[in-house]
C-alpha cells in the first residue's frame, strides 16, 4: 500500500472537515487512526466499501477504520465493529459497480453509483478481508447523489511527485516572435530584394559567343566559388588539390567538426584555437579566390588587373550603361 503523502492527507482532511463542519485536526487524527470517527452529518447513505483497498473507507455511520495494512485483517483497525474484519469472498465487487460512498483517508473519494444488490451482503474488501466496513444490515440504499455540498471524488491513484515530468531547462528571457523578430526579418528581406534589384539593373549578366568546343578561351576559368580550388591546382598535384582538399578537407572535414571539437564552451575566449583555425581557412580561401579571380591572366599566369585587365568574364559588363 502506498504511503499517502502528508499533504494529500491534509487536503482531504480539510475537505472532509469542511463538509462535516468539524475541526480539521479532528478529522486528521481520525484519518490517522488516532481518534474515533466523527459521526456523519446527516443521513448519508451508508455504504459498503469500495474495492480499492487503500483508500476506501466508509464515511458513513459505521465505525470504520482507517486502514492500514491490507494484508492483516485483524490489524490495527480501531473499532471496526461489525463487519470489519469479515473476510470477504474473494470475488469482491468490482469497483465500478460497488457503490462507494467513502471519504477515505488518502485522498478521497467517493463516487456515487447506484447500488448493486449484492453489495448488501458481502462487501468486502479484497480477498484478504481487510476492512470494510460497513455493514449495514439493510440492503444498501442506492445513493443517488452525494449530500448537498459534499464533493464526491474517487481516488484513482497516488503518484509521487517526480518522475512524470522533469523540467531541466532554465527559464530564459524571451520575446514574442511577432512583432520583434518578424519585423527585422521583413526589413532584411526588403533590403536584400532591393540590393538584388539594383545589382540586376546595373550589372549585366555576361553572355559571350556561343559555345564552341574547338575554341578554348585563354584563360579558362571556373565559377568564382571554385576559383580558389583552381588556384590550388596550379600549385599542387591534381590528386591533392583536386581531390584531397575539396572532398577530404572540405566536405568530410567540415562535417566532422562538431565531433572532433570536444570543447563544450561556446565562449570565444575559450575557443581561441578553433577560431584561429577557421579564420585561417577563411583568409586562405579568400586569398586564393581573389588571386584566381583578379590576378590570373593568359595561360593562368599571374597578371596585374590594373596593368593587364581583368580576366574574369562574370564581371565583363560590370557596369551597364544604355
Amino acid at each position: 500500500m502506498a504511503e499517502i503523502p502528508e499533504s494529500l492527507l491534509r487536503r482531504s482532511a480539510e475537505a472532509k472537515a469542511k463538509a462535516l463542519g468539524v475541526p480539521v485536526e479532528q478529522i486528521l487524527a481520525e484519518m490517522r487512526g488516532e481518534a474515533p470517527p466523527t459521526p456523519p452529518p446527516a443521513a448519508a447513505a451508508a455504504q459498503p466499501e469500495s474495492s480499492q483497498p487503500e483508500s476506501s473507507q466508509p464515511e458513513s455511520s459505521q465505525p470504520e477504520s482507517t486502514q492500514p495494512e491490507s494484508t492483516q485483517p485483524e490489524s490495527t483497525q480501531p473499532e471496526s465493529v461489525a463487519a470489519a474484519s469479515e473476510p470477504a469472498p474473494a470475488e469482491a465487487v468490482p469497483a465500478e459497480t460497488a457503490p462507494a460512498q467513502t471519504t477515505p483517508a488518502g485522498a478521497v473519494a467517493v463516487a456515487d453509483a447506484p447500488a448493486v444488490p449484492e453489495s448488501g451482503n458481502g462487501h468486502s474488501g479484497n480477498g484478504s478481508g481487510r476492512v470494510a466496513a460497513t455493514v449495514s444490515p439493510r440492503p444498501v440504499a442506492p445513493p443517488t447523489g452525494a449530500p448537498e455540498g459534499v464533493r464526491t471524488q474517487r481516488l484513482l491513484t497516488v503518484v509521487k511527485a517526480k518522475a512524470i515530468q522533469q523540467v531541466k531547462a532554465e527559464p530564459t528571457d524571451k520575446v514574442n516572435t511577432w512583432p520583434h523578430l518578424m519585423l527585422i526579418e521583413f526589413v532584411a528581406l526588403l533590403a536584400i530584394t532591393a540590393l538584388l534589384l539594383v545589382m540586376s539593373v546595373v550589372i549585366h549578366s555576361p553572355l559571350l559567343e556561343p559555345a564552341n568546343v574547338n575554341a578554348t578561351p585563354n584563360p579558362s576559368k571556373a565559377p568564382w566559388y571554385f576559383l580558389g580550388l583552381q588556384e590550388l591546382l596550379s600549385y599542387f598535384d591534381p590528386q591533392i588539390a583536386g581531390v584531397t582538399v575539396p572532398t577530404i578537407v572540405g566536405l568530410i572535414g567540415f562535417m566532422m567538426i562538431p565531433y572532433v571539437d570536444r570543447n563544450p564552451s561556446t565562449k570565444p575566449s575559450d575557443r581561441k584555437f578553433a577560431i584561429m583555425l577557421y579564420t585561417i581557412f577563411l583568409c586562405g580561401s579568400a586569398t586564393l579566390s581573389i588571386l584566381g579571380v583578379l590576378f590570373r591572366g593568359r595561360g593562368f599566369n599571374f597578371s596585374y588587373p590594373w596593368r593587364d585587365g581583368v580576366f574574369f568574364d562574370d564581371l565583363k559588363d560590370w557596369v551597364h550603361f544604355e
Binding site: T172, D173, K174, V175, N176, T177, W178, H180, L181, I184, E185, A188, L189, I192, L195, L196, L197, M199, S200, V201, I203, H204, S205, P206, L207, L208, E209, P210, A211, N212, V213, A215, P217, S220, K221, A222, P223, Y225, F226, L229, L233, P238, Q239, G242, V243, I257, P258, Y259, D261, P264, S265, T266, K267, P268, R271, A274, Y278, L282, D313, D314
Partner: protein, 252 residues
C-alpha cells in the same frame, strides 16, 4: 457628406468583416477585423500562419538582435525562394538543346518583357546565395552553434552548402556560351581526378567524355528538378532541427 477617405475605409471595414475574409484569415491575423495587439494574438499570428509557423511563438531575446545572426540563414532561404520564382519565369523561354539554348538566352535579354532583369536577378541572386550560405556557415562556426545538441544540423548544413554549390554550378552551363562551356569543363575536370572512379564520375556528370548537348540536357534536369528537390528535403530537416534542437543558439 462623407469624404472619399471615410467611404473607402468604411468599405474596407465591411470587406474585412465579411464572411469570406473571415473564413480566409485565421484567428490572430493582423488583417482580421477587430485585431487587437495582445499577448495571445501575438502568439496566434505565428501559430496560425502556415509560413510564420516555421518560427516558434517566442524567441530568445539575444537571438532577435540583428548583429547575432545577420539574418544570414533566413536570407539564404529567401534567396532560394526568389531563385525558384525567377527560375520558373526563365523556364518559359528556354529550351535545353544545343541549337536553341544560346538563342533563347539572347532573345530573353532583348525580346522578352523584363527578361533581362529576371535573368540578371537569377544569376546575381545565385551568387548572393552561395555567399550568404557560406557566411551563414561562418557565423555558426564563430558562435560555436554546431556544438551539442546541434552537431547533426551542422552536418545537414554542410550538405546544404554542397547542394547550393551544385545548383549554382549546374546552372552555370545553361546559357551555352563560351563562359559556360569552359567553366564547366574546368570544373568537371577536377572531378576526373578522383581516384579509382574519377573517370566514371566525370562520365556520369557529363553524359559522355566531354561537354556536349547531352550534358546540357543533363545539367538542365539536375538544375531545375533534381537538386531543388533534394535541397528542399534537406532544408526541411534543417529548419525542423533548428526548432527541435532548442532554437537559436547562445547566448555566448
Amino acid at each position: 457628406m462623407a469624404t472619399i477617405k471615410e467611404r473607402v475605409s468604411e468599405q474596407m471595414d465591411r470587406l474585412r468583416g465579411s464572411q469570406v475574409m473571415d473564413s480566409i484569415l485565421r484567428p490572430g491575423s493582423p488583417f482580421k477585423k477587430g485585431y487587437a495587439d495582445s499577448p495571445r494574438n501575438r502568439s496566434y499570428v505565428i501559430m496560425n500562419n502556415v509560413l510564420y509557423h516555421l518560427h516558434p511563438v517566442k524567441v530568445k531575446r539575444h537571438g532577435v538582435r540583428l548583429s547575432y545572426t545577420l539574418c544570414l540563414g533566413g536570407l539564404s532561404f529567401f534567396l532560394f525562394i526568389l531563385l525558384t520564382i525567377t527560375g520558373i519565369f526563365l523556364m518559359f523561354y528556354y529550351a535545353p538543346t544545343a541549337e536553341r539554348a544560346y538563342a533563347d538566352v539572347q532573345a530573353l535579354s532583348t525580346g522578352v518583357a523584363f527578361g533581362s532583369l529576371v535573368r540578371n536577378m537569377h544569376r546575381w541572386g545565385a551568387h548572393l546565395m552561395v555567399l550568404s550560405v557560406f557566411l551563414h556557415m561562418s557565423r555558426v562556426f564563430y558562435h560555436g552553434a554546431y556544438k551539442p545538441p546541434r552537431e547533426f544540423n551542422w552536418v545537414v548544413g554542410v550538405v546544404l552548402l554542397l547542394l547550393t554549390l551544385l545548383l549554382s554550378f549546374s546552372g552555370y552551363l545553361l546559357p551555352w556560351d563560351q563562359l559556360a562551356l569552359w567553366a564547366v569543363t574546368v570544373g568537371t575536370n577536377m572531378a576526373g581526378f578522383v581516384p579509382v572512379v574519377g573517370d566514371q564520375v566525370k562520365f556520369a556528370l557529363l553524359a559522355g567524355p566531354e561537354v556536349t548537348a547531352a550534358t546540357l540536357l543533363r545539367f538542365y534536369v539536375l538544375h531545375v528538378l533534381f537538386f531543388p528537390f533534394i535541397i528542399v528535403i534537406f532544408m526541411a530537416v534543417h529548419f525542423w532541427r533548428v526548432r527541435k534542437d532548442g532554437g537559436i543558439s547562445g547566448p555566448l
